[in-house]
């Protein structure tokens, strides 16, 4: 063996020794993440972006919306939970109280980006002053109107209604355009659609909708009656299609897409849908108004992200949550793909410049509300909830005062359970 070979051999031994002293290289991990089906279009953009820039990867599993609660509940009991989870934000209070989620208060408070997240998300993810999650893939309700019909009716297409009365007046003028053209639309038998699009008008007019407990007054404030009376008047005047009464959400957007509806409450998701499905429809978006000019609100929906208790990679999951609040994730993962950011300061971003309707929608996230309540399903989301019974009885049967009183009593009863 020559001198050079001795040297090479010595170097190899030295390298092996050094590597054994340093220990084995840390293997990259693969995290499991559950996402509900409704967010399955948005979440992959963020996850793919994370996977492209990080050694630790995330594998997504889509869970049907109506199975998320039972799967997480049984998973927690069995000790088999995903490392990170994205779910309908409305379940946050129930999950926090049930002890399903990991407390991430200290890490979130130390993160400067967390302070910029829409207040609706932060409020909802806080239980007994501790934080258990943050915004992930938001959606928000807005008012949407058909500019072509506005023009034909002699209305200014750049002036959407800014009060409840203006909705009524504009709807009357649009209805006069023809027997199959309607001024306003809402899904009369859909509890979820109405908490999303009708309740913000009540909130904008100063109402408080749902009680946290049996001591709080539900449906409090004149805004509740004002909005129900407006809908009742529009219904009796024939400004709303008859089919609205039976619509359990299946036709939530179909009528507007057909170009025969002037005004309706909708979600931010409809902008992309309309551009794809009805490219020739000229439409505008605005905040959902209250009784007076300057009053506006929105219902913040979409998904939150959290770490289930028992997560095997909680530390990396936390890194992912902090990363998804960075400029990179919010802009390149969400805004670039026409998805709203959950950070308020990024509502007006470079990707939304070519589509100002996204900016309006993203700003609605900042002014929006989301009720912090247990039993949301009982009070609102179920097909027999006091919320939908109130709307049906008030709008279609004309029992405005009686329906509010009945819903108040039932909601108080549920909240005290």
């Amino acid at each position: 063996m020559g001198r050079s070979n001795w040297l090479r051999g010595g170097a190899l031994i030295a390298a092996l020794a050094a590597s054994s002293i340093a220990g084995p290289a840390i293997a990259a991990e693969t995290l499991t993440m559950w996402v509900r089906a409704s967010a399955a279009n948005a979440a992959p953009h963020l996850v793919d972006l994370w996977n492209s820039g990080h050694a630790d990867k995330i594998a997504l599993t889509v869970i049907p919306d109506n199975q998320m609660v039972s799967k997480l509940a049984t998973g927690v009991k069995a000790g088999e939970v995903p490392d990170v989870i994205s779910f309908d934000l409305i379940y946050m209070p129930d999950f926090m109280r049930a002890g399903f989620l990991t407390d991430i208060t200290d890490q979130m408070k130390a993160d400067p980006n967390f302070a910029k997240v829409a207040p609706a998300f932060t409020n909802l993810a806080t239980y007994k002053d501790r934080i258990y999650g943050t915004g992930f893939t938001p959606d928000v309700s807005i008012l949407i109107y058909n500019k072509d019909l506005f023009r034909k009716a002699g209305l200014d297409p750049d002036k959407p209604p800014k009060t409840l009365d203006q909705i009524h007046e504009d709807a009357k003028k649009i209805r006069a355009l023809g027997s199959d053209i309607y001024g306003f639309y809402f899904s009369g038998a859909c509890p979820g659609c109405n908490i999303f699009t009708t309740s913000p008008m009540m909130v904008a007019a100063g109402a408080k909708i749902l009680p946290r407990n049996g001591d709080e007054e539900p449906l409090d404030g004149p805004g509740v009656k004002q909005v129900l009376q407006l809908f009742r008047d529009m219904w009796t005047e024939g400004l709303i299609p008859k089919s609205a009464q039976a619509d359990n959400g299946a036709n939530f957007t179909a009528n507007f897409k057909s170009g025969k509806v002037g005004i309706q409450g909708a979600g931010g998701f409809l902008i992309s849908d309309l551009k794809k499905d009805a490219p020739n429809l000229d439409f505008g978006v605005a905040f959902l108004p209250g009784a007076k000019e300057g009053q506006a609100s929105a219902f913040v929906g979409g998904d939150v992200v959290a770490i289930p208790k028992g997560s095997k990679h909680a530390d990396i999951a936390l890194q992912f949550i902090k990363w998804e609040l960075t400029d990179e994730a919010q802009l390149e993962g969400l805004a670039k793909n026409n998805i709203l950011p959950s950070r308020v300061d990024l509502a007006d971003n470079k990707y939304f410049q070519s589509e100002p309707r996204f900016v309006t929608t993203a700003k609605a996230v900042g002014i929006g509300y989301v009720p912090w309540v247990f039993h949301f399903n009982d009070m609102v989301n179920s097909d027999s909830s006091p919320w939908i019974q109130m709307i049906e009885a008030a709008v279609f049967d004309g029992k405005v005062d009686e329906s509010i009183a009945a819903a108040k009593a039932k909601m108080k009863d549920i909240a005290s359970d």
Binding site: A73, S384, F396
Partner: protein, 291 residues
């Protein structure tokens, strides 16, 4: 082999089936009953609360309203399915090509999932794009499109139409099997005696297929008492909660309101009601045959 020894051997043969029933039927039933005595939540936790859930069910107006609606649905749809199924069986009894083709066409919807067929009919009854309104308008039965699901009775009619289309073929097949099992000589004898077609149906076919009719009625009635998918998809319990079925209300409580304990209580009550109804039906049939 002495009788007691042969009894043990018989038990040994039946043991796998008994074990299966014990694990997959009796144990879950016992568990259901135990859960019904607790305030268990889908989110975890739960304490023994005795009969409180049963007391609550007694006062639950929506549950009893749903039960009445379910009974109404069962009482309407069961005779329709039986008469139509039997009629179709008689019409397609002959083994010619048309008969076989008709049987296949009528039976085809049975293999479609109930959820899928409900969606199909939901859109067929849609007031704007549905073909049902178009057909009724074209034949001048209606002047304007009907909004079917805005009225509980119209919604129920739409659901019944969808279910008849979906399951009538199942009864038809069972009835055909029963009719084919009738000894050909009995019919031949009746023919020689000059019995008309309807007389043979009334005095030969119906009595000799009564067991099949009873079985099919029982299966159909139990299935209707447990109706869920079709109402979940087509009416969502509306308008104003008037088309909730018992099972739909149990689902609401267990999985939407997270009240597993109360959902279990309602399930036990519904099971007891169906069991009593089925037993009564069997006893009445037995007594009818005895007289």
């Amino acid at each position: 082999m002495n009788p007691s020894r042969s009894g043990y051997v018989g038990l040994l043969y039946a043991a796998p089936a008994l074990l299966f029933v014990a694990v997959f039927v009796l144990y879950p039933l016992a568990q259901l009953f135990v859960t019904s005595l607790t305030n268990s939540s889908l989110l975890g936790g739960g304490e023994f609360i005795g009969w409180r859930n049963y007391l609550r069910a007694y006062r639950d107006a929506t549950f009893w309203q749903a039960l009445v609606f379910t009974c109404k649905y069962t009482l309407i749809i069961t005779p329709i399915l039986m008469i139509l199924g039997y009629g179709l069986a008689l019409l397609t009894l002959s083994a010619n090509r048309l008969g076989k083709l008709t049987r296949a066409v009528v039976f085809l919807p049975v293999v479609i999932g109930l959820g899928s067929s409900s969606f199909l009919w939901f859109w067929l009854f849609d007031e704007q794009v549905g073909l049902v309104n178009k057909l009724l308008q074209d034949v001048h039965l209606i002047a304007h499109p009907i909004v079917w699901f805005v009225d509980a009775n119209l919604g129920l009619a739409a659901v019944i139409a969808s279910i008849v289309w979906k399951v009538v073929g199942f009864g038809m097949i069972l009835f055909i099997a029963a009719l084919q099992a009738i000894d050909a000589e009995v019919n031949e004898a009746a023919l020689i005696d000059g019995a008309s077609y309807w007389r043979r149906i009334l005095h030969i076919a119906l009595p000799l297929t009564s067991r099949a009719i009873l079985l099919t009625t029982l299966v159909s009635a139990i299935g209707s008492m447990l109706a869920f998918d079709q109402f979940y998809v087509m009416t969502a319990g509306g308008p104003e909660s008037q088309t909730f079925t018992s099972l739909y209300w149990i689902y609401q409580n267990s999985f939407i309101y997270f009240k597993l304990g109360y959902g279990a209580t309602l399930s036990v009550i519904l099971m007891a009601i169906i069991l009593s109804g089925s037993t009564l039906q069997l006893l009445l049939m037995r007594r009818g045959r005895g007289t």
